[in-house]
Structures are given as C-alpha cells and as structure tokens.
C-alpha cells in the first residue's frame, strides 16, 4: 500500500457548543483522488480549514507526510507542500490572472530585498522561472485568453479555475479543492473532471469536496462522508453509494436531484 500522505486522528473542532467536526479519522494515500461529501453544514469545509492550518483542532491531530502539523500556521503548511482552493473564492481580485498565478510561486523562489535591489543572479533566475512556469500553468488550465484580465471581473466559473491554477503554482504534494465545480455547467464540470484526472496522473494527490454526485462518484477512488461533523461512512464510491445512512442523510430519493438522471 502507498504512503499515507495526509492523516487525521480523532480530529474535532468545536465552536462554542457547536461541534462542527467531531472525532474524524481519515487517511489519504499518495496518488489518491479523495472525496469528502456530506450534507450542508456537515463540517467539510471546517475539516479542510483544520488540515490547512486555518483552524487549530479542538482535539486530535493532523499528520502531513507523517509529521504532526497541529501547531503550524497556514503558510508553514503550504510550504510543506499543501495547496488549497476556497469554497468562497479568494482570488486577488484586482490583479490579473497572470499576477495571481505568479504569487503562487512564492515558496518556490528565494529572492529577498537585497537580491531585488541589485537584480543579481537569484533575482534574475527567479523571475525567469516564475514567468515561464506561470505561462505554462495558465496554458495548462486553459486560461490563456484571460491572462491579462482582472481576476475579479471574470465570471464565477472561470474564477474557480484561476484558483486552481494558482494552487498548482505551489507544486504541492496534495491539493485540496473545496467545491471546485460549483457554478459550472455540466460540460465545464466534465472538463474539470478530466483536468483533475490528468493532474492526478501527473502525480498530484487530490482531495475534493463536492456536492455534484455524478462528478464525485466518477472522479474519486475513495470517499469520506460526514454528517453533523461525524464520519458516517467511508470507502470506494460503490460502497458509499449503497450505504443506507448516506442515502438517507444526503442523496435524497427524488426524481430530479442526484444529477444521475438528467
């Protein structure tokens, strides 16, 4: 079995009396496309926020590449190789797409004030590297047409892609995506799925939260289901799909929803 890249051990997060996440265990293996699903308010985003260091867990421990990261802040965790996108898009709205992506290279470059002032070798090689790589990523995500557009002016669905591009610039070991397909139509969603699969093939481990079942079931190899902060099911899509708990709490049985019968 592959190496466990991200592991949660009995993680809880309480806001006052509210148990947003309660005693969750999880293992993500290198090379996984790992899905997290669950009803609204189940604690998925909160769980991501704990993994990426924005919140400190009330109880429990997160291990990233075998190291505990409970006391690290978001930037330290990012440096260790974790990148993420946000459910409420957090782009640099007044900067162009190109600039957004360039900032993603922060941890992969070394220029300091001194280097910049004298435009020495470090500076020059850094700039060259950043500019070239940024263009590559923008091409790869299919944003070349928007390269010089202010990110804030883009339509919702395109902003989501910019966020992914920016996260890729970190060249992370694991990429956390929080509802990446929200606001995309089925065709765009499908393109996104293929893109994620391609990334995975390139070696990125990916964890994704999504409510679009068609998307998630065909994309992931393992799933974690949360409800009221607790884990109610886990396993391959097949197992989860047929879990009675999950069906009741999450899928519903109506004619229209579920996305599987359009």
């Amino acid at each position: 079995m592959a190496e466990i890249i991200l592991e949660a051990k009995g993680v809880s997060k309480h806001f006052g009396g509210l148990k947003a996440v309660e005693n969750v265990d999880m293992e993500i293996y290198r090379g996984d496309i790992f899905g997290i699903i669950g009803p609204n308010g189940a604690g998925k985003t909160t769980f991501f926020n704990i993994c990426s260091g924005i919140y400190e867990p009330t109880y429990g421990e997160i291990l990233f590449k075998g190291e505990p990261i409970r006391n690290l802040n978001p930037e330290q965790i990012a440096r260790k190789g974790m990148a993420r996108t946000f459910q409420n898009i957090q782009l640099f709205k007044n900067m162009t797409v190109f600039e957004n992506v360039r900032i993603g290279f922060h941890i992969r470059t070394k220029t300091r004030m001194f280097d910049a002032i004298f435009k020495n070798k470090t500076y020059q090689s850094d700039e060259e590297f950043v500019n070239e790589e940024s263009m590559k990523i923008i091409d790869k995500v299919g944003l070349s047409a928007y390269k010089n557009t202010m990110a804030g002016n883009l339509a919702y669905g395109i902003q989501r892609r910019v966020e992914i591009a920016r996260a890729l610039a970190l060249n992370p070991d694991i990429l956390l995506l929080d509802e990446p397909a929200a606001g995309m139509n089925p065709i765009e969603t499908n393109n996104l799925k293929e893109f994620i699969i391609k990334l995975n093939a390139e070696g990125y481990t990916i964890a994704v939260i999504e409510h679009d079942m068609k998307f998630i079931m065909s994309l992931t190899n393992r799933l974690l289901v949360l409800n009221f902060g607790e884990k109610i099911s886990e396993g391959t899509p097949e197992i989860v799909k047929n879990d009675q708990n999950v069906i009741e709490a999450y899928f519903g049985k109506g004619k229209i929803a579920g996305g599987e019968n359009s």
Partner: protein, 236 residues
C-alpha cells in the same frame, strides 16, 4: 408581468449584454441558461438596477422601472436572491431573515412571524442556527438563508441566481420542489441555473444566453430536446 426590452450593459470596455429582449408572464417559471460569463447574472443585476444600463427598458406590471433605484424596484414586489449570496455577516440568521421583509411595507407583524415559521419548516437547518451570525454559516447554509430571505417578503416575482449552488443533492431536490410549489401559490419565478437540465424540467419557458445575446428561446420541453442545447449545456 416583466418585460425587458433591448437591454444593453457595458462594464468599461466589456459589453456584457448586447440588447436582449424577453418577458415573464404572471405565474410562470422562466429560466435563463448559458455558459460562464454569458451575462445571466448581469441581466438580473440590471433588472434590480444594481449595474448601470447603457440602454434598454424594463417594465414590470405596466410600470417602467428602468430607472427606479434598487430599493424601489424591490418595493414593486421583485425579490432578488443574488449570486454570491450576500448574507449580512454580522446579523444573526433571524435578523437576516427579517431584512428580507423590508421590501414589503404591507406585511404585518403576524405575516412576518408566520413566514419565519414557514422558512424554518422549509430549512430546519436554519432553525438550528437561528441565533448564529450569518457570516459563520457553512456555504450551503448561507445559500439556504439567502433563498429563505428572498422568500420572506412574499414577492410577486422572485429572481433566483443559481439557487442550487453549493447545496447537497437532497436540498437541491427540495429547492426545486419548492420552486414548483411557490409557483402554485401564484408567485412568478425567474431562475438562473447551471444545472440546466433540472431547470428546464420545471420551467415553463427558457431563454438561452450566449455572450450577451439571447440565441434561443422556447418552452422548457422544447429546449431540453433541442440538439444544440443538449450539446452545449446539458453535457450529453
């Protein structure tokens, strides 16, 4: 009921809408579909007069509302559930819901508390969170709150901008059932959905928007069976 004529909107150099015409009849569910950046959100925003229009007229129940300030548009009985939810972060869930009633001066105290109860039945989640600050809700909870807030004023016309965004399948299902139900109660609905398949299923009529133009229109059935629509928006 609502008539949009030759609506043109420009953002600086970008023309987001290039002269669209459409109408919504009383009691209908109308849906606007189109890809990212087609101008759907812009259409709703310009009906609410939150973006400046370059040209065009908007008539609601025989009244020209093109140049009414945003809050007066609401007073006409048009409720708008915006993209990005726009919850008041430092108001509690209950207070957020109450802000939804400011647009209807005729509501009595009792109407308001009745409506509150209704919303809590519809979204039990909100009831559990009733005193929590709007800003700390989860994405989906905020979406529910935004929809509920839009319904609080008993509008004649409700404009929903991607109501299913970020909602769990079971809730999405409920939302669509809800839309059908409020239609039966006599409300008119103008709906934007990425999930065009579902939207067209419940819609009476639909318009297809592409780069700021309406390129097609028809009943929900017609559109759902149209080859081009299927290919471009339903992903079959």
């Amino acid at each position: 009921m609502l008539e949009v004529k030759n609506l043109i909107v420009n953002y600086g150099y970008i023309s987001a809408l290039r002269g669209i015409d459409f109408e919504v009849n009383k009691g209908e569910i109308i849906t606007l579909i189109g890809g990212n950046g087609a101008g759907k959100t812009t259409t709703l925003m310009s009906i609410s007069n939150l973006v400046p229009k370059t040209d065009g007229t908007i008539i609601f129940e025989d009244k020209d509302i093109t140049h009414l300030p945003a809050h007066k548009v609401v007073m006409q009985g048009i409720s708008h559930v915006p993209e990005g939810r726009k919850i008041f972060p430092a108001l509690s869930v209950r207070e957020n819901l109450i802000t939804g009633t400011f647009g209807n001066k005729k509501m009595t105290k009792k109407d308001i508390s009745d409506n509150l109860e209704k919303m809590f039945v519809l979204f039990p989640r909100l009831k559990e969170r009733v005193n929590q600050g709007g800003g700390t809700l989860s994405g989906g909870e905020q979406q529910m709150l935004a929809i509920a807030r839009g319904l609080m004023m008993n509008p004649d016309l409700i404009m929903l901008d991607e109501p299913s965004l970020g909602l769990a399948p079971i809730i999405v299902e409920e939302i669509f059932e809800l839309i059908l139900r409020i239609k039966e109660e006599g409300m008119t609905v103008l709906l934007i959905e990425q999930n065009a398949a579902m939207a067209l299923q419940i819609a009476d009529r639909g318009y297809v928007l592409e780069t700021g133009n309406i390129i097609m229109s028809g009943t929900g059935k017609e559109l759902i069976n149209d080859e081009r629509v299927r290919r471009s928006y339903l992903g079959d």
